[in-house]
Amino acid sequence: MFRAKLPPWLVLLLPAFIIILAVVAIPLILSLYSSFTPYHLTRPDTLWKWTGSFNYIKAASDANFWKAFGRTVLLLTIALNTEMLLGLGLALMVSKVTRGQRALRTAMMFPMMFSPILVGFQFKFIFNDNVGLVNNALQSLGLTDVAIPWLVDGNLAMFAIIFAEVWTSTSVFAILILAGLFAIPQDPLEAAKVDGCTPWQSFRFVTLPFLMPFIYIAMAIRSLDVARAYDIVQVMTNGGPARRTELLWTLIGRTGYVDARMGYANAMGYIAILMSIGFTIYFFLKLQTARRELGMGEM
């Protein structure tokens, strides 16, 4: 009787909503609440003490927090743009190959299968100043005598992290853009050629606009788990040396679990959550507009 009254779409969506409510929504409400308390893991009674926006004010006036915030935004901007450009370049190069393209495509997907934590260890090993591949190669080629402290120097460590991040995720962009390149209708390209467009012009005004939805899909997919960089950073440098590679996520993890200051960590976590969600919504809206422009159906 009860089920008959619910519309069928609600019945179908109900399991998804229940499970997300239980695992995501309710914990987020709890963490919102605890961000207004001085909750400390070892002192459970602190959960009932209301301190208002104290944690948020503390975060806002904490220089370490703002540095980590800025660094996270910087990392995402550099990494995503580099991945997009390299992915576009790689896709264009692979699409021009006539023989053995399948094998290339398969090899291209290799990094996608690596767990981010594994990527972290892999590059920690590769950039190791003593036994790492990079330093060994540089020294054997006679380019340098000293062991370059890749993961110890702040700027070099940031470079190593971005390198690892770009290594894992460029293939997502490359594969999606490649699929887009194959789906391009040939007529407009030929028309452009007949009209005397240079290769650059036909790329810029015909190919690229058509590829945009594919680039937005890749961005949307990536935006769903930008925080996977947490795994990589945690393993490679753990925010060190001396907080010089500290990201928002490593700062939250350390405050919550090592210092056990859950209330404060949750307050900072909320800022990270809002940033991620804003990012995702932005790319999904972009994707919808791009789709509509190409007449590929409504949401």
Binding site: P7, I20, A22, S31, L104, I117, W167, I277
Partner: protein, 288 residues
Amino acid sequence: MASATQHRIKKRALKTAHFLGLFLAMSLICIPGLWVVLNSFRPTIEIMAKPPVWMPQSLSLDHYRAMFGGAGEGGIPVMTYFRNSLIISITSTVIALLVGMAGGYAFARYSFKAKGMMFVALMASRAVPGVALSLPLFIIFGRTGIIDTHFGLILVYVAMNVPFTIWLIDGFFRQVPKELAEAAEIDGCTRWQAFWKVEFPVARSGIASAGIFAFLTSWNEYALASQLTRSTTSKTMPVGLLDFTSQFTLNWGGMCALAVLMIIPALLLTFVVQKHLIAGLTFGGVKG
């Protein structure tokens, strides 16, 4: 004449540049992974050698023997981690696919109020960073006693995978013409039968690709697993990797061996359904 020669030279230069660029890119993609595989077969002395040994002198299965033997290397129970990973990933993938199929079907076939909003809300729930979500989950799971159990982690992974599964499957159901299912219903099928006999077979490749993504996400996830698992009863392989580190040393060889063990299932699975994977991502996304 001169311009023809010039043209030919230019073309050849372009071709060489293309080849070199591709070669460089592919080396950068493949070498880091292959280096890990190579090192899993080399003895620790050779890995640590200074000056470096470029041509492997002796390859052995020592790291694998130590890993599976469990006795050496501080007795890391790799097989238990492997089993935990397998149980958790497969169960959560199957459940996420069932829930995702129901949800994807609802989004593709029914129209209702605030559909777009609901969809974006669903996606936003997936965007919550694992480490931020792990704090409250850690508290709740600790209170309800499902911390460090398979059940707890399966629950979390289902919730993580459902939004993306719905997105992909929705795109595939949209490709199936509505008329097809309607025709089956006119011929006397119930809606349920029409779904399994007509729509499901057509959308199967999309469901397969959603399954791969769900599996890979659960198989590789670390941020949540590292906090919600405590002991060998539920630790997964990504968390197990940390067992090879101690405060000042790192057992590179042993770690590389475990890394290979982690990659193999993912590699096999991905290559088997490679074609579906690309189709699933693009069509699910573009046409959805």
